[in-house]
């Protein structure tokens, strides 16, 4: 028989997988109320749940809408549990910090958001700069957040050129040796990534997670 704690964490995990942000919020509050370690709840319920969903997505058993809903639900839970973790003097041990964004001139959000969700689910701290992000904003983010990796998405041939410009701007700002840079998006290729001096390229969201793991080993 499951203990009350296990049962609650299972329910929390299930709610995250189902993308039920309201239920995740309710259960995360309950975790705190009954004194369960919030860090354990993040790791055993939220992260594990979304990771499992990520696997299903890769296998064609879950879909974009499920991934987006689960990531939103996880965020709702994290916002509550993180506060308690900090109160207890702890912190979530992320595997690395990633700043991600779709480059200037490009408003494609979905691919980038899925990569962000999968990275979060894989235990990385993700700062999502959104879409239509100019070089200056990436530079400011490097200074502000000190990330391990910058990820740039571009969904069009015209906007992939911005990936080169942004890398050049990061070099000009003398920040290139402080971060690894990865690129992706439909028109990009491994050769393109090499040509513009990126550290890596991923053809899809799942590969992006593998790439990040490899680069931060």
């Amino acid at each position: 028989m499951l203990s009350g704690k296990e049962e609650l964490l299972n329910k929390l995990k299930e709610a995250a997988v189902n993308g039920d942000a309201d239920e995740v919020t309710k259960l995360s509050k309950k975790v705190i109320e009954i004194g369960i370690d919030p860090l354990e709840a993040v790791e055993k319920a939220l992260i594990t749940g979304v990771l499992e969903l990520g696997e299903k997505w890769i296998n064609g058993e879950a879909f974009i809408v499920d991934m987006i809903a689960a990531a939103e639900a996880m965020k709702a839970g994290l916002s509550i549990l993180k506060e308690e973790i900090v109160k207890r003097g702890g912190s979530i041990k992320y595997r690395g910090k990633i700043v991600i964004g779709t480059v200037e001139g490009d408003i494609h959000d979905i691919g980038k958001s899925i990569v962000a969700s999968l990275l979060e689910a894989a235990g990385y701290e993700v700062i999502d700069l959104g879409v239509d992000v100019p070089a200056q904003k990436f530079i400011e983010a490097i200074k502000q957040y000190n990330p391990d990796i910058i990820g740039m998405s571009a969904l069009m041939t015209t906007t992939m050129l911005k990936q080169r410009e942004i890398i050049e701007a990061i070099k000009q700002a003398n920040l290139r040796d402080k971060v690894k840079i990865i690129v992706g998006g439909a028109p990009t290729t491994e050769d393109w990534a090499k040509e513009i001096g990126a550290d890596g390229w991923a053809p899809d969201a799942a590969s992006a997670v593998e790439l990040v793991k490899k680069l931060l080993k």
Partner: protein
């Protein structure tokens, strides 16, 4: 099948009629030309392309359109601002009636809007597309060019569900009004492989609530599938046919069927779906096609 309880708008955009109750008008077919990596494009940046091959594709599509009775609207795609004028000029000369201008970025679309405004083609143009993210400068460009027709894309990146798509409709209508758009088409925005299901229901709900001509680019869903999992050519074509037919069964008025090269199979599947829907509408509701050119009277010959 069904008919909508709300009165359905029928638009006449430069001679092409679109909208209405199921069975009234043939599905309008929107195929893309000069899209990214289109073989007939020699230089995407300058807009240089093989005119002979482009003309052949347009002629072939015209023949198919005349055969099935499904009107066509060519979607002129472009990735570079400086290339758009050349492509628009060519299509305006070679095609009768309306055409879409479909730029890869806001800058390209703005360049296209300015161009059609300058050369007096605005009445024939359908702006593809206005989204909830459309910027102020783009809205101004559409208004200044006096473009009166546009496709509104129900893109909801935080909630790409049936509900999420419907949620952005009012926002889109407000943007369209600001841009001076009078003829509104709604594209319910396919983003994932199994989307032809929920987007078909979205089409139904948008038409029931707003009465506007509505459709989708279901081809995108099949292409995504093909990229992820190998499909045999036969299954790929069957998938395209099924994906085209389902939205039509739920009331779609237009289908963005993908590359213009796909016209033969896309027109066939849509015309057949149109015929089935129209035959039902006639039996069940006494709704008759508004044109003798309807696929119902052509495809079974």
């Amino acid at each position: 099948m069904f008919k909508f309880s709300r009165e359905q708008k029928i638009l006449d955009i430069a001679g092409v009629k679109i909208g209405g109750q199921p069975g009234q008008l043939p599905t309008v077919m929107i195929g893309s030309i000069f899209y990214h990596k289109h073989k007939i494009v020699i230089d995407e940046k300058t807009g240089e392309f093989n005119e002979k091959k482009a003309e052949e594709l347009l002629m072939k599509e015209k023949e198919i359109s005349e055969k099935t009775g499904n009107p066509r609207i060519v979607d002129v795609c472009c990735s570079w601002p400086q290339a758009f004028g050349k492509m628009i000029d060519f299509i305006a000369r070679k095609v009768d009636g309306p055409f879409c201008i479909d730029g890869a970025t806001a800058e390209v679309r703005i360049a296209g809007a300015k161009y059609v405004g300058e050369v007096g083609l605005s009445d024939r143009v359908i702006y593809n597309s206005i989204t909830p993210h459309t910027r102020e400068d783009e809205i101004t460009a559409i208004r200044d060019a006096k473009i009166k027709s546009a496709i509104l894309l129900t893109l909801n990146t935080r909630n790409p569900t049936i509900t999420g798509r419907i949620q952005v409709m009012d926002e889109l209508l407000a943007i369209a009004q600001k841009a001076g758009i009078e003829n509104i088409l709604v594209d319910v925005c396919v983003i994932d492989i199994p989307d032809p299901g929920p987007i078909s229901k979205t089409i139904y709900l948008v038409k029931e609530k707003y009465g506007l001509p509505t459709g989708a680019g279901v081809h995108n869903a099949v292409v995504m599938w093909k990229k992820k999992r190998a499909l045999t050519p036969e299954n790929y074509m069957l998938a395209e046919g099924v994906a085209n037919a389902i939205p039509i069964a739920l009331g779609a008025n237009f289908i963005l069927y993908g590359p213009i090269e796909y016209a033969p199979t896309a027109y066939f599947s849509c015309a057949l779906a149109d015929a089935y829907v129209a035959y039902n509408a006639r039996q069940e509701y006494g709704i008759k096609p508004l044109t003798n050119n309807h696929p119902l009277y052509r495809i079974f010959k």
